[in-house]
Symmetry: C2
Subunit: 522 residues, 2 copies
């Protein structure tokens, strides 16, 4: 692994390959995937072989190489080799509908597709919708190709650090998926900021040398929060768990000594449900929770099992990490760990003072645009700040609290009501497993909150009067407006979810409009 | 403190002002200097006032503002305000001879000089040698100026991140001092790499949130190793000790709870000598040691006092930090903490395979040139690598060990002898306080090592036969060549030192040549 030749003395572009500069310090460290163990040294050699293989198949700088895979060593190799060649890595969201996947591949013009056998049928099915159809490599071809690729250093080119390195699509909860993109420079700076942030967390909340990493937000989703790049730069042991199955995740944690992961609340919930009640607490396992709000109940239940869960904040457009929680001051109030957290180094945040307090950011690693959508891009970057469409507050200590998505805020009786705040309160009812609050148009009040509730026991759903009684103290304390009290409760078996596990409020709204039965999704 | 307006959506130059993005998180944290306490909030407001003051005095982007001060809050303010205005901060080495100081000010064309009262006479003395003479502000004028400066935000300009931020001169052990320079981008990246490195060190060897910082390498010397920028970005409590006096440094450590410092071995030696033998161990105090080799004896003596000393590596040309030691594997061999250490993130190192193994680096924060000296600049950057003129080895674990400065290597009987290795061995003699080994030209052997030795008791210097006996086992073990055994010992009262406390081998060589008495310098 050689550093690229600079164009002039002292010139040093921020390229993904530069994250490998310290590799001689941990050449024997392990990467675990699909029951195999690779040293970092082998990993580095496989990066070179992959670059030879892709070049042999015609991949050139600027071309798009798409990947459809579960979390694996292959994905990690592609995270490095593809951008290092000057090509663009497209991480395909395999949970989208086939037509949407075809849409995203058409939109980027992907010329090569590396896919897992599990997606062979899906790939065959969408090929007719792609023109020209990309070449593709299945897992077997990937291994065979690496085996015959030259075992010599690939001459990785000296790139402009502003070259595009990755592309992927937002989940498209409102309309078609939108393509964001990140440059080499942005990913290196994101990695450096994460390093300074997570190593600086108190012991048990951070990620440091000696920790063992396993992703639990998929590698197709916003670079698995950038952690594979950080773990590689730091030389941490890495464990790639394939398709997420709670039993396998728990087994890998125990067997490989995993100490650091990240996931959405749904995955954490699944993990906790999969642990037998009589099982002893897990060894220390830190998890950054993002994607949706971390509720205090879930955090506490996780801690009882040995899992230190703490909130973070980011989105596809932000690379993703812009804030992480930490426990300073949280001894007296553990709920502080459930916030979106403190902005990480180099991140500026402001809250829109007009309107419902949208959070807006500046940082060196935010997507510059939505590819091919100049109107949405302009809207994203109004006044030079990235608009999150998240409503929130910046506390006196600088920490961010998210109130809600702007579109999920409910305006009733002229006051803004946060659906997230309401949901957190409703969830304290002992008979409820999951809830979602939706605003329903109302002639008199503008909107009225409606509570969708998944009871723990489907035969005895709570009634709306109980819920209003439960919320009354919060109204009296001024924590929520009296307009926030829902006057309708709809008991359902499960909540519809998006491809990345978030509650699909668009479908709940459509249900209210059409008054149709919600189809069961799990 | 507002982030600067970007030129285009998503554009985010790496500027020193961006290190202040997280400031709202620690607005009440303290900066201690000259018996005063400033909050970070006050510090930020003083930066704005300083920018107003300097602008009022005619400072414009591109101009050079020089500072001659002891370590103080003023210096910290200048570290930020001057580059943030687009001007260049010249940190003047106040230990140089007046003529050399005049030389460095002339060379940069400094147009404004901020100086401490202690340097008023010196400044008055060199003014005639400067043409046009710069304006100057003494400390009193500085405070008075800040007091009357507008208390409103200064509109810091959006700069090119490749703008020069700082300039200073190497110590000029060989010829006139040479000017190096660092850009905004370089200093931000150096800060980010330091953050990831030092927070990642095991507890007791690192620098994390909650640590208290006090410099003990002067702020005029390579940005005090970049630590003031890091401490400020992280929001650590900072303690600026003025002129270094061992008793005051010790008192500040105790009173302010200092946990992290950095210094050259000479300062550490002075500190240890100033601690009364009966004093209890200090509370945990971590020190990165650079500038010269950290000897195991000194490290152990420091540890007995509660000071965790560990080696780092860098030089004026490298910003400075490119490597830091850490204790992995050091439990069995504490000497590992005395090495130059492990390259920090983004740093590539190689060792010249022809010749005496000079260490060469690539990193995003190395000076691009010696200002006004294209020949030396070309020599510094041969083949696109920065040439350190340090001879060293890169171990199988990736850690760097420095053997010697190239010019201090001794070639005897056709073999290279490291003066540093010899010195470390000689120092194990119980009667010696300090030593230096110099190569003396020799017709038969090329060069022969000569030992300069400072005995603990001047009345009983050891003789050369004792030293040779002491070294014999190392020869037999193959650790040093038999040509390394010195055959001459010169006892002296003290070693001559350069302006930054390094042993001045040039003067020792001159002494050998002229056979003159070394003038006493302490």
């Amino acid at each position: 692994m050689h550093s690229v030749e600079p164009a002039s003395p002292g010139d040093y572009p921020l390229l993904i390959g530069q994250l490998l500069a310290n590799l001689p310090q941990f050449a024997e460290q392990e990467i675990v995937s699909e029951g195999q163990r690779f040293t970092y040294d082998t990993f580095a050699r496989r990066i070179h072989r992959l670059a030879h293989l892709l070049t042999g198949m015609g991949v050139k700088p600027g071309m798009v190489v798409a990947v459809m895979d579960w979390d694996s060593h292959r994905y990690l190799e592609a995270y490095f080799a593809v951008p290092m060649m000057g090509a663009v890595l497209q991480t395909v969201n395999v949970r989208l509908a086939p037509a949407q996947i075809a849409f995203t591949l058409r939109q980027t013009g992907a010329q090569l597709l590396i896919h897992h056998a599990d997606f062979a049928e899906l790939v065959a099915g969408i090929m007719p919708a792609l023109s020209p159809a990309p070449q593709f490599i299945a897992v077997e071809g990937y291994e065979a190709g690496l085996a015959v690729a030259p075992d010599e250093d690939f001459a990785f080119p000296l790139l402009d650090e502003n070259s595009l390195a990755t592309r992927f699509h937002t989940t498209g909860t409102s309309g078609d998926p939108k393509a964001v993109g990140f440059t080499h420079r942005q990913l290196v700076l994101h990695t450096m900021a994460l390093a300074g942030t997570l190593a600086n967390q108190p012991y048990g909340e951070g990620f440091r040398r000696g920790d063992v990493y396993m992703p639990m937000t998929p590698m197709f989703h916003v670079h698995a929060w950038g952690m594979p790049y950080l773990a590689t730069m730091m030389g941490a042991k890495q464990v790639y768990p394939g398709r997420y199955e709670p039993a396998r995740l728990l087994a890998l944690q125990r067997e490989e000594g995993v100490t650091f992961s990240h996931c959405v609340p749904t995955i954490l919930r699944m993990l906790l449900d999969a642990i037998p009640p009589e099982a002893p607490p897990l060894p220390r396992w830190t998890m950054i929770i993002g994607g949706s709000a971390l509720h205090e109940d879930l955090r506490r239940q996780a801690l009882e099992r040995g899992i230190v869960a703490l909130g973070g904040y980011g989105m596809s457009e932000t690379g993703p990490v812009v804030a992480v929680s930490r426990s300073e001051g949280a001894r007296s109030d553990p709920a502080l760990l459930c916030r979106a957290g403190y902005p990480v180094p180099l991140v500026w945040v402001r809250s829109d003072t007009d309107g419902p307090h949208e959070l807006q950011f500046r940082a060196p690693w935010l997507t510059r645009d939505y590819n091919g959508d100049p109107a949405a891009s302009r809207d994203l970057w109004r006044e030079g700040w990235l608009h999150t469409q998240d409503v929130g507050a910046i506390g006196p200590d600088g920490a961010i609290t998210i109130a809600d998505r702007m579109k999920d805020m409910i305006k009733s009786g002229g006051e803004w009501v946060s659906s997230l705040a309401l949901e957190a309160l409703c969830l304290t009812h002992p008979a409820l497993a999951e809830v979602a609050v939706i605003g329903m148009p109302d002639q008199r009040w503008g909107e009225r909150p409606v509570l969708f509730a998944v009871p723990l026991d489907a035969t005895v759903p709570p009634d709306i009067a109980e819920i209003r009684t439960l919320l009354q103290p919060a109204v009296e304390a001024g924590a929520i407006s009296r307009y926030a009290l829902p006057d309708r409760l709809i008991a359902i078996k499960s909540l519809p979810r998006t491809s990345v596990g978030k509650i699909d409020k668009k479908r709940l709204k459509a249900f209210l409009k059409d008054d149709q039965v919600i189809p069961k999704k799990r």
